[in-house]
Subunit: 289 residues, 2 copies
């Protein structure tokens, strides 16, 4: 049996530390506040948003939620965003993606005030990410790095193979892992749907990250016994027992082979939320400087 | 003997096409103009700048050169840059890097007007690069892609291994090659000084790109017979016959092994300059739209 990288446990420890920092902030008159802004979000996105709101509430972060209807114009959305940018009570802003097609996503994300961009959505911050200069690291890649750090799994000189080049995980994770920092200095390979023989690349990994959004896609043929497998997938599937959340990795068949693996749920997911809470807290702390 | 990817020839063809476009622009009253802005640049940088100025002149692009002394303050530099931003005769701006340590490089590059950022130096454009939305592609990576295209070497599904994670070549090239476009869709591995066994990664490449800045670093042990080798290195070395420019690849010992290779000089270098000229021309054409 391989080692389970317990994101739920590590995240809980991180949240405890955050609570103390948030209490100190609140005592100084600043309570961290995170705003959620969505337009025509589907049920799954809203449900995920609600779970984030609950997580905020548990550590003492106030949330404000603005869910706009599908037919909202870009101007109205931008007005709402500008209000949040200017509101000194708000420390972090999350825009739920994707936005409706009629809205220019890049323009909207580019309008997020940099100091409140707690999930690194603004293209300017994205650009800075690769140079170690983003205001905040995006939550999911930061959560993955933080989980590896908690288990003292070094990245320097390791070959990290990332399946998926998406904006939320694969792409920013590659940027972060390549930086010349303690939790960086990895050799990074990014694979995707057009890569052809994914197994060839995956098997060469020291650390394999799955972020492709396909339920149970990564089977035993992708992995080797010394590997660390990070599953960033969140997929809902129907089973005879009802709806179930599974990752991109076929945990049942892979977990016995590899050296260490994250479960879904309870792996990357809780770490993502913990990183988001940490970024909001840090944003509020910077306000006091 | 492998195929020589003749950047000098391809660049010359591209320059001929540019001349026609520039004549048409000039006939319409718009002559493309590129500004060079440097602070305390060393002799090698200035010499490179002069060669770019000559290349501009040959195709009909006007140049303006502002070489500031080493002790120039950031404010004075920014003033010069703002003047260039506002000057409607200027279509492209190149800031010579690195800037002196006392100057905040990111702030200066971030002040380059986006529509004039012909080498994609502004961090905002850098951020957009990965999403296929930069105003212009940075010249060296664009030159590499253009050279491969000229020789009908497809990238889709190919494993491109990049030695070097630098801002000028390795990093932006990785961003470009991962995009979902005709000359993209590669599987990309980025290696660097902390990667450990570089030979292991290099040998697995379909296309190997050297961008590490070490003369003749890549020897026969790095390559295989079916590989395409792209040498983005420009290194000056002293020989008994005097100063000589060589690449990061030991051309003499590697060129007989691989399938195709770029020489230095005459490979990536002229393509870089051609791409820069093309970006300035495109910037001027957009002004007419």
């Amino acid at each position: 049996m391989s080692m389970i990288l317990d994101g739920k446990k590590v995240a809980a420890e991180k949240r405890e530390l955050l609570k103390t920092r948030i209490e100190e902030l609140t005592a100084k008159g600043v309570t961290p506040q995170l705003a959620f802004l969505s337009v025509g979000a589907d049920q799954a996105s809203l449900s995920y948003q609600r779970s984030q709101e609950r997580a905020c509430s548990k550590v003492g972060i106030i949330t404000r939620t603005i869910d706009l209807t599908q037919d909202t114009s870009e101007d109205v959305l931008l007005d709402q965003l500008f209000n949040l940018n200017e509101d000194s009570n708000i420390h972090g802003i999350l825009v739920t993606l994707p936005l409706p097609e009629a809205i220019n996503e890049e323009r909207v994300l580019g309008a997020i005030e940099s100091s409140k961009d707690v999930d690194c959505l603004n293209p300017i911050n994205r650009g800075r990410l690769a140079f170690g200069k983003a205001e905040f690291l995006p939550a999911t890649p930061a959560g993955i790095v933080s989980l590896l750090e908690a288990y003292e799994i070094s990245l320097t000189g390791k070959h990290v193979v990332i399946l998926g080049r998406g904006k939320a995980v694969g792409w920013p994770l590659a940027q972060i892992l390549l930086r010349k920092e303690k939790m960086g200095n990895a050799t990074v390979t990014v694979c995707h749907s057009r890569s052809g023989d994914l197994v060839r690349y995956a098997k060469d990994a020291d650390i394999l990250v799955a972020a492709i959004g396909k339920a149970n896609f990564v089977g035993p043929e992708y992995v080797g016994k010394d590997q660390v497998v990070i599953d960033a997938g969140i997929n809902g599937i129907e089973t005879p027992q009802g709806w179930k959340m599974v990752g991109d990795v076929d945990f049942q068949r892979v977990s016995d082979i590899v050296n260490a693996i994250t479960p879904v749920p309870g792996g990357v997911g809780p770490m993502t939320v913990a990183m988001l809470l940490a970024n909001v807290t840090a944003a509020a702390e910077r306000r006091l400087l």
